[in-house]
């Protein structure tokens, strides 16, 4: 192999450089070794939550719930909870979780949104591989179930978008007096919630033959994008628009601001989904008709709790019925009237949850192929 030989010749030419290189490396070692080294507490069961980002109140409430479990129930410091931010990247989500499992050599409980339904399988497989424990929420493909993977995948929690979206859409149609035109703003088209919520709205519209769905486009959960699309809607359909359906609140904000620009804010009913503090403000101002709270605080806490107690052997997932391995979380419909009550109960002061009561507030087992 002349190639290899010539290559080696060239390399040996640089032997001296390489010695210097070694010195540099050692320098790095020396530099790093003076830094304080942190030993991992091996006896403690590490806890982490893997989610998209910190820019969205939904994820903040998730984190808050998880932190509450860490502090109140486990009696550790807030910092004991590791945040794995995937920034919407499947690869990073997977990589971070793997790193975490490896770091804790399997002594860990993880709450996780896999970010993209196909990403769920590799995540749970990775956790199983490292013998950690994980509870997932939201994104998984229909053909994948915790009981197929085993105890390491403790449970999967979903929030059915179907019925709540149907309810809000029904309210919307009633507010429109049962006639007129609706425009819709959907989430990232590939996301399960986006699909379910759209379906829920469609089901509701079936009940109101005089209400026409003018247009429905994906605004990718993005305020700015929703804002742009909404204003274009107004150009296209003008007065025909008598109601707006949004697949979540961040997009609803964009839509409402687009209406405000036309002086229509509050005149055209808008429904949202999810419930950040701003959402309540819009509700109280009457610019938002209704929204649905999915109590992410509870979701964040309980999913971590499930993983933790399974990991510590408080219960054995495989002994539980399927309804306890895949279940819907609770949802609350909020309108102008009960906005204040809701704020008092869930925003100003968080209710005390018994994190070991996993299935109390559940809305039953997850069902498939409903549309």
């Amino acid at each position: 192999m002349p190639f290899i030989r010539s290559f080696i010749e060239r390399e040996t030419l640089r032997r001296r450089d390489f010695l210097l290189a070694g010195a540099y490396g050692l320098g790095g070692l020396a530099a790093s070794s003076v830094l304080p080294t942190k030993a991992i507490a091996a006896e403690e069961m590490a806890v982490a939550w893997s989610y998209r980002d910190r820019s969205n109140p939904y994820w903040n409430s998730i984190a808050a719930g998880a932190e509450n479990f860490t502090t109140d129930t486990l009696g550790r410091k807030k910092e004991a909870l590791t945040h794995l931010i995937n920034e919407g990247s499947n690869a990073k989500s997977l990589a971070d979780i793997k790193s975490f499992v490896a770091k804790t050599s399997g002594k860990c409980a993880i709450g996780c949104d896999p970010n993209d339904s196909p990403n769920c399988r590799p995540v749970v497989e990775a956790v199983k591989g490292g013998n950690g424990y994980i509870t997932t929420i939201w994104n998984k493909t229909d053909d994948l179930h915790p009981w197929d993977i085993g105890d390491n995948w403790v449970a999967h929690i979903g929030w059915s978008g179907l019925e709540p979206a149907e309810n809000t859409a029904t309210l919307l149609c009633k507010a429109m007096g049962g006639k007129g035109g609706v425009v819709g703003l959907g989430g990232i088209a590939a996301n399960i919630p986006a699909i379910e919520r759209k379906q829920g709205m469609v089901n509701a519209l079936k009940k109101f033959p005089d209400v026409k769905l003018l247009d429905y486009q994906a605004a990718d959960w993005d305020t700015t994008k929703a804002n742009a699309i909404m204003s274009s809607y107004i150009t296209t359909y003008g007065d025909q628009i008598t109601g707006v359906f949004c697949a979540n609140d961040t997009m609803a904000f964009g839509a409402i601001e687009a209406l405000r620009a036309e002086g229509l804010a509050g005149k055209v009913p808008v429904t949202a989904y999810d419930c950040a503090s701003q959402t309540l403000e819009y509700l109280k101002k009457g610019e938002l008709l209704a929204t649905v709270d999915q109590n992410p605080y509870w979701g964040g806490g309980v999913s971590l709790a499930l993983a933790y107690y399974a990991a510590t052997g408080k219960f054995k997932p495989s002994d539980e019925p399927k309804a306890h391995r895949e279940f819907y979380g609770p949802t609350i419909l909020i309108t102008k009237d009960d906005a204040d009550a809701f704020k008092k109960k869930y925003v100003d002061s968080m209710p005390k949850y018994d994190w070991s009561d996993f299935w109390g507030p559940s809305n039953g087992q997850i069902q498939y192929n409903r549309y």
């Binding site: 080294t37 919407g88 499947n90 997977l94 790193s99 053909d143 590939a190």
Partner: protein
């Protein structure tokens, strides 16, 4: 003088220093299977970066790789049930074709590649959305086993991704150092005027470089689809910039001509370690991007070879 000669090694040294640094913070990081894990996770990113390397090597840039990869995951997921194994070469072919088209547009219309590839990226994204019917697709487990089995799971202790990526690296290295194409890529990157007046059909080889980039983007898409056992139009989101960063941090400047695929491997590993370090050094969620940004500046400042670039733009 020696410092300048040493510069060729700065990327690898930066990597070593980083690993040691993280290792001293948390020794469990240095466990071999963990490092292996780290490597296997960065493979998809690496393969994409590998392709982009060829384009940057000739002094252009390719911003379409990410969308191509996403599109591939969708195409494969929807094609495998129908045509089985043929889906794999098909996907690669489509990728290469897309790359070639980007190159062709850039060369013929003289549009800067920055914009040309950005535009083709948009087209690829649309195709992906159309093919997927705007849903996340999943590949049936058995099909995944039989047709994409080559790129996930382990052989003994070694993850197959590493083997695949390693094989691709070897091939790419051979292409870069041992083939006419590789030699001419280098010539174009180092001095396009000289290449032209030496009678080289520069345009043809530019298009070729883009085709390679496209094919490898598709390849990373395949590996992603295998890992996710499915695909979606956004499957490869947030890949592009890290991939380009991997190339640049590896020591291949945007002006081209120096560096190469081996550097890109180092660069990809630097990116991987940097990311992992955030978990190991338990950088608070809010601090992570600041940390990444700073590491980036330092890394590039260390690794870039200023002799090769006359005026730094």
């Amino acid at each position: 003088m020696t410092a300048e000669r040493l510069r060729a090694y700065f990327p690898i040294l930066t990597l070593v220093a980083l690993v040691i640094l993280v290792g001293t913070f948390d020794t469990s990081f240095l466990r071999i299977e963990n490092l292996m894990q780290l490597a296997s996770d960065v493979t998809t990113l690496f393969v994409m970066a590998l392709g982009i390397t060829f384009v940057i090597y000739i002094g252009s840039i390719d911003l379409s790789a990410q969308s191509l990869a996403s599109m591939t995951t969708v195409i494969v997921s929807s094609a495998i049930p129908v045509i089985g194994a043929a889906a794999v070469p098909l996907a690669l072919l489509i990728g290469a074709g897309f790359g070639a088209v980007s190159g062709l547009i850039a060369v013929k219309t003289k549009i800067p590649t920055f914009i040309a590839t950005l535009a083709t990226a948009g087209i690829a994204y649309s195709i992906a959305q159309y093919v997927s019917g705007q849903k996340g697709l999943s590949i049936d487990v058995s099909l995944r086993e039989s047709w994409l089995g080559w790129s996930f799971g382990n052989i003994g202790p070694v993850p197959k991704e590493i083997i695949v990526a390693g094989a691709l690296l070897v091939v790419a290295t051979i292409v870069e150092r041992r083939t006419v194409a590789g030699r001419i890529f280098k010539a174009i990157g180092a001095g396009e005027a000289g290449a032209i007046s030496s009678g080289i059909q520069v345009e043809r080889f530019k298009i070729a470089a883009f085709a390679i980039s496209g094919a490898l983007a598709a390849m990373s898409g395949l590996m992603l689809a295998a890992r996710l056992s499915g695909g979606s139009p956004t499957a490869a989101d947030q890949f592009l910039l890290p991939a380009i960063v991997a190339v640049l941090v590896g020591g291949t400047p945007l002006t081209g001509g120096v560096g190469g695929v081996v550097n890109t491997m180092v660069g990809a590993l630097i990116v991987a370690v940097t990311r992992a370090s955030m978990v190991y050094l338990s950088i608070p969620a809010q601090g992570q991007q600041i940390f990444f940004g700073c590491v980036l500046i330092v890394a590039i400042a260390l690794t870039i070879d200023r002799r090769k670039v006359r005026t730094v733009k």
